[in-house]
Each structure stands twice: as structure tokens, then as C-alpha cells.
Subunit: 463 residues, 2 copies
């Protein structure tokens, strides 16, 4: 990681930015702090200033100013990142894109749209609803679509609709030297040249700042059916998932919630589910198709010892079911007052998922750590929230040890250290463990495009 | 494009290659020519030698030899490329990977596999069949999976299963300096670092030589149903496709065959379809699901004036239906003895497809060119085969003019100059038209990873 930019350069960059944007550049401590620290365990670092931009041209002008002074630029969307992505570890200017919130075009016949980077997924879906369209990627938080692209986000229904990798068709990006490129086309596929779109998706602001996103859309399904059921073991849940996917049942969502988490949900939402691992599932399609899928799934689940399936019979019940799933963080946190949450995000081949979860649970028990587990099991991705008292050095050490072992376990099973949260500043040590020499190739690309390392330094594969 | 490598360097490289591989290095003129010229209009260029390799280590050793002598290396799979991808325009050594034909592992529970680059898609599918699995990407030719990855291939069922972009999970690649990297993991998704897999998919051997491919697999569907029907116009076909996709019917294949091509199929395969635009369709799913999809599709097609749908009632009839579609090239070619075929491959948003096809047909009629059309219409991708007598300078000029206008038309509609064939040496002039400044970024990446431009020079975005 480079050292901080010289103070004189920073001062000149801020002055030039103020000339450009007037009072849309702030150096107020509260604004700077808010733009440098996320909601997680990761250390924050306030930028020297925050610039609130309204257009690609403004981003371009700011980047040119910062490039001239070799001052870092860090993109900021809604601040919902979980891996310290926007901490200004070398100082510099945070570019807040939340004001770039225009939906530029919706092409309903082609099922695609183009939005400015600050549009959130919920705002887009509200806009699309009366055209019968939806953008399905749902990471939980109401994140900006630029931020979701930059971190290669996914969530509960990636098993059916893919991640940002599959659903970003093109981008407008401001590069480190102020050039603006537009990647991709509106064609559904192309073999023309290197896939810059997918190189930039997941690059976490280290190769350029995303200002516009072209997205693939989907028709809102005619029918949706959701249900929840308990299982005798995590293995039984995973066997059910594997068989369901092997049979080709197009699951829209299939989520594991472990027994510890169920207990927390029961307490938080005043429910009385048995304290056992559960699957939360959803099917999308025609009424007949959904009924058939649900029947196929139920047969498989019962073959693995599932209890009775509680189907949501109304849209309100379906919403309540997923609300309980989305509230897991608050449900578990409320059992651990005073402790901080340490997010984890490994992803393994689904054939190894049960083993990975069970070994992790055993490790946590032996390490005396409270770590409830939920998983996007159709993708082999699960999250353990490790609760930790930062003042308790012993617990901090135990949590860090278990965290490292969990990643090593996932990598040894052919998996990845992060399914959807990203590398940010938090997981850089694991990138080389996972990709070996490939990280050096990533670094070569980074330095070819950003030789002065001004784009979000200290993150992902960059120096 | 660089000039040819100095002869002395080439001679030293060949001598070192022979020391390494013995009689698996050939300088026989027939072998060299076969490895330098594809079946198309594009000019060929024979390499100085051909090396038949058996392992990643051998590719690595060869690349190190060539890097030391600054001699080009060009990967060769099955030679079915349509854009002059393997023409040795600067000379050098062709690395024939067809001997790397081991299926390294099949993970049926995870529905993935790892193969050496020379395994063909048909060989893989034959191997997978008794496990109930398939690899669906079908570009027509029995191409090698390494070549399909390198060119970002797709074909008739990309509308359902995606292209190589979506189905390659990871790669083993030998880089220009002889480093070997392994990209991706066996996890279904990952946010760890830059997406080197997708940067390399479609890079056409200009960034590295792919020696192993990790692929996503699918269960063979329980039921398949295929049919064919005529329409009053190309617009009616396209409206049918748009409505079908909007309704969310998961088409496995939906292919446009224009009236000219139908006439050729009738003559070639002794059929008697009406001389009108047709759609060839296929549905995959459960028996009930397929029946429902086919019914939904039929209602939409009939609303747009389709004639009676001829459903294949047996597996043999289904095979015959697709054989007629796959024979289109030979059917049309047999009507044009002595003429050469000039392949085209534009792809546009499907809302613009009818307009693009109709304007193209009008242009061809006015230009007095025989240009039958087939299209993967669910993706907005279509191929016109332009027949041309190379000895007729006037016809050559008319064909080249129509070809350029077709690409300009597609680009002006938000499309791409190539949906699935690639850039190769044939479409380099159009890459900058399509991507503007982005091509300069591609070039920066190329030169960062291959500063001496030894990896397949003169192709794609490279110099």
C-alpha cells in the first residue's frame, strides 16, 4: 500500500474540486467519517473530502484533477459494503454517486435497462413494476446498482438468475487518466474483443469508477410460491438441494438457516419453528409450473426427512417469510448485546457444502464462538456471523483463528474466500492463497491502467 | 502488426522445440498449411512449424522457447474457426492441442467438469451421457472446448443455457512469459479479485494459451420437444420470439430460417416446406412443463399468422429436424457451385431484429447477392452467408460493400459486429467502430501481459 498523498497535493485537488462543484464538495468531519467507515468490523479511514457528483462528466473532471495531483479517488454508493471497500486508507477524495439516480432507459421488449450508478435496486424495481419487469439480484441491502456491479454482488436468488457477473450487459466507466469508456452493447451476446465489462464488474473501484450500468431484466413471474421446512440435519438440507438441482428444478431461492439462527428468529419474530436446520424456498413460473416444481421439491425433501412444509398461502405470508430470513442479522445481534458482528462469506462446490458447514459448526463450538449460519445453498455460499467482544482479546483471537480456518477449509474444498461480499481491504491476504500467480496478473492489469494507483488504493488486487 | 520474426530466431526456436518434442514437431508443408488456413474467405498464413503437445508443461516449455526468441505462438484446436483465428500472419509456431484430449474429472453432484483443451464438445457429451449430464453449448462444428472458450462460442441453445462466457468456470492458461495460471474455482460464484476467466474467454489466444477448461454442466432434460412452422414474414417470426421471451417461456432453441434458405433445404433434403420464413424451436423440461411451454408458444405463433406446427414426434424426427437446420450451409452452397462463402455474424437487440434482417435482405437484393439467412433469434444473432465468385471483381466489391453496411447497421441499432464467431483477423477494423476508446484499453492489457506480442499476433485487440 502506498503512503498518503502529500498534503499540498490533496489541498490543491480539493480546491480544484470546489471550483468545479462548489458546495457539493464537503470537508466536514461527519461527512468524511460517514464516507470512510462501513457497518462492519473492518477499520474505517475517512477521506480528505467528499464530492457529490451529478454526471459522468463531473466524475471525469474530478478524476482528472486527482490524477494530476496523484490523489486517490474512491467511489461511494450507499455505503452498504461489508469489506471496507470505501475506506480511504491512503486519504483522497470520496466520490459520492448517490445523486446519479436517473433511470436512463428501459427497453421492455429487449428486457434491458440503463441506469446511473447511484440508482438503488429497490428504486429500479419500483420503476419497473408497472411494466411487468424486475431486476432480481437482491443482496439484502438496498444497494446502488453501481456498487453492486463494482463488488459483483448477488444474494438469495442468484441460483436462478445469476449474479451481477451474468446480469450486467455494459458499463460507462471513468478510468484513472480521466478517459471515459463505454463497454458492452445492447446485444445479448458478443464475441467482439476482450470482455472489459466483466473485468470491471468486481474490480471494486480499483480499475475505474462506474457511472452507468446496462442491466438485463426479467419478466415478473406469473406465479410465485414460497415455503419453509425443518430437517433433521444440515446434511439432509444439502442432500435435498443437490438432488433438486440435479433434477433440474429451477429453484428461484433455496436458503439454509441453521438451528442457532432459527432459535434467534423465533425469539425476534415471535415464531415457534422447531430448533432445527431449515430450508426457505421459492419457485417462479406459471401456476402449473410452480405447482409441479413445488411437488417435485417436496418429494425430495420428504425423502431426506423434512418436516411438514409450511407454504405461504398469500403474498403477505410470502413477504413475512422472507422478512424473517432478511431479519436474521438483527435477530442474532439482539441475542448478543455489546458484541460486534464479523461477516464471513465462503462458497464451496455444493457437494462439499454439508461437510464445510458441519466442520465449521464444530470448530465454532470448540472455539466457544457464537456463529449463526445462513446460506445461499443452491450456490454453495454461506455466511457465518461471528459475534465478538472487541474488548476481549481472547475472544478476538479465537474469532480471527476460526475465520482463517473457515477460509482455508473452503479453499481446500475447491471454493472461494468470498462468494459475494468481495475482497475490499478485509480479505486481501486470502486473494493470493486462492489465486496464486493469478494475483500477479491482476496486479499487472491494475498497474497498466492505473500506474499511479489512485483508484481506490489498498483494495482488491491493487497495491 | 509486427513484421515477421527474424529467420534465425525462428530456426533456433524450431530446433529447441524438436529437442523437446522430437517428431511431434513438424515443418512439413502440408501440415503447416493445414494449420494456417481455415474453411472461410479469410486469407491463411502457414506457421513455420507445428508442435503437437500432450500437456500443459509442454505448452509452457514451448512458450518459454518462443518467448526467448520472440517468435509467435498460435494455439490450434480443431481448425473450425470462421475468422482466420489461427492464421500465422507473423509466422511462428502453431501449438496443436488436439492431443490434449483427456476428460480430467466430472463432478456429477456439482454438475461441473474439467477437461483438457483439445477435448471436443461431442466427445465430452458422449462421455457424460450415461451420467445423465450434458454440456449444451453447440456452435455447430465439433469444436474443441479450448477453442470454444478462446473464441467465446455459443450457438443454437445459448438462449437457454448462455454462451461460453456463462459456462466456463475456470481455466488453466500459459501466459506469454511461460507462467501458468489457474483461474476460477469450483465454486458457482465468487467475488474474489478480477475476473481473469472472463477476460481470457474470448481473447482468441492473444493473452495466453488455454490448456484446461472447467465447465458448468446440466442435467439432460427429462423431456424434449421440437417443432417447425412457417410465418407470413420475418417480422411475424420476430414478434413471436419477443412475445415468447417476454412471457418467460424458457425456450431451449428458437431459430429463424429465411425463405431463401428454406428453398435450399427443400432441394437439399428433399422436403417440401412452404417457401416462407420459418422458426425451428425446441423445449426442455418435464413432460408437463414441455407440453405447457409448447402450448404457450403455439398460441403466440398462431397469433402472428404461423402455419401449422410440425412437431417431431420421435427422437429420430427431432434429430432430422435439427440436421436440416445444421445442413443449411451445405444446402445453400450446393446451389452456388464455384462460389465461396463469406460468413457474417451480427447480433442486435431483439426489438431491432426484424428491421435489421429486412433491411439486410433489401440491401442484398439491390446488390444482387445471394445471401441466405439463419438466426439464433432468441439472442438477436443472425448469419447471412454471402456467396461470392472470387474471380468476379464486381461481385467481390458488392459483397464487401454489403458486408460493411450490415455491420454498420447492426452497430447503429445497439448491436455487435460478432455475436459468436469472434474478431480474429477478419473483423479487426470493426472492433474500434464498436468499442471506441475501449479498444485502447484492451491494447494496454494485451501489452502489459505480452509486451513482445508473441501470443497470436495480428488478432483481436492485439497489435
Amino acid at each position: 500500500m502506498d503512503s498518503l498523498a502529500p498534503r499540498a497535493n490533496v489541498a490543491r485537488a480539493i480546491a480544484a474540486a470546489k471550483t468545479l462543484l462548489g458546495d457539493r464538495v464537503s470537508t466536514a468531519p461527519a461527512v468524511r467519517e460517514q464516507h470512510g467507515k462501513d457497518q462492519t468490523w473492518n477499520a474505517g479511514a475517512a477521506p480528505d473530502a467528499v464530492a457529490f457528483v451529478n454526471s459522468t462528466e463531473e466524475v471525469q473532471a474530478l478524476v482528472k484533477i486527482c490524477a494530476g495531483e496523484k490523489v486517490p479517488v474512491i467511489a461511494y454508493g450507499t455505503g452498504t459494503s461489508l469489506e471496507g471497500h470505501f475506506a480511504a486508507v491512503n486519504g483522497g477524495i470520496s466520490i459520492d454517486l448517490s445523486g446519479m439516480n436517473c433511470i436512463l432507459e428501459v427497453n421492455s421488449e429487449d428486457q434491458d435497462c440503463r441506469v446511473e450508478a447511484g440508482v438503488t435496486r429497490k428504486a429500479l424495481n419500483a420503476h419497473l413494476r408497472d411494466q411487468g419487469l424486475m431486476f432480481p439480484i437482491d443482496p439484502g441491502a438496498d444497494a446502488s446498482l453501481g456498487g453492486m456491479a463494482a463488488t459483483r454482488a448477488s444474494g438469495t436468488n442468484a441460483v436462478r438468475y445469476g449474479t451481477m457477473r451474468e446480469n450486467v450487459m455494459g458499463l460507462t466507466v471513468v478510468l484513472a487518466d480521466g478517459r471515459v469508456i463505454r463497454t458492452g452493447t445492447r446485444a445479448r451476446k458478443s464475441s467482439a474483443g476482450y470482455d472489459l465489462t466483466r473485468l470491471l464488474v468486481g474490480s471494486e473501484g480499483t480499475l475505474g469508477i462506474i457511472t452507468e450500468v446496462q442491466l438485463r431484466l426479467y419478466g415478473i413471474p406469473e406465479a410465485l410460491k414460497a415455503g419453509v421446512m425443518g430437517f433433521p440435519s444440515v446434511e439432509a438440507c444439502c442432500r435435498t438441494v443437490i438432488e433438486t438441482i440435479q433434477l433440474g428444478v429451477p429453484m428461484a431461492r433455496i436458503e439454509l438457516v441453521d438451528a442457532e439462527t432459527i432459535k434467534a428468529i423465533n425469539a425476534y419474530s415471535k415464531l415457534s419453528m422447531p430448533a432445527a436446520p431449515h430450508l426457505f424456498v421459492e419457485f417462479h413460473g406459471t401456476p402449473a409450473g410452480v405447482a409441479e416444481q413445488a411437488g417435485q421439491f417436496a418429494d425430495i425433501a420428504q425423502g431426506h426427512g423434512a418436516g411438514a412444509i409450511s407454504w405461504a398461502s398469500t403474498e403477505e405470508e410470502r413477504a413475512r417469510l422472507w422478512q424473517a430470513r432478511h431479519d436474521v442479522f438483527w435477530a442474532t445481534k439482539s441475542l448478543m448485546p455489546g458484541k460486534e458482528a464479523f461477516a464471513t462469506d465462503v462458497c464451496v462446490p455444493i457437494s462439499r457444502l454439508a461437510e464445510c458447514v458441519v466442520e465449521t459448526q464444530k470448530d465454532l463450538a470448540e472455539s466457544r464462538i457464537y456463529g449463526p449460519i445462513v446460506g445461499h445453498v443452491g450456490d454453495g455460499n454461506f455466511h457465518v456471523t461471528l459475534y465478538c467482544d472487541r474488548a476481549d482479546a481472547g475472544e478476538v483471537a479465537r474469532v480471527k483463528g476460526a475465520y482463517g480456518r473457515m477460509i482455508e477449509r473452503a479453499l481446500s474444498m475447491g471454493g472461494t474466500c468470498t462468494g459475494e461480499h468481495g475482497i475490499g481491504s478485509g480479505k486481501r491476504a486470502y486473494l493470493a492463497r486462492e489465486h496464486g500467480e493469478g494475483v500477479e496478473v491482476m496486479r499487472q492489469i491494475k498497474l497498466a491502467l492505473d500506474p499511479d494507483n489512485i483508484m481506490n488504493p489498498g483494495k482488491n488486487a491493487g497495491p
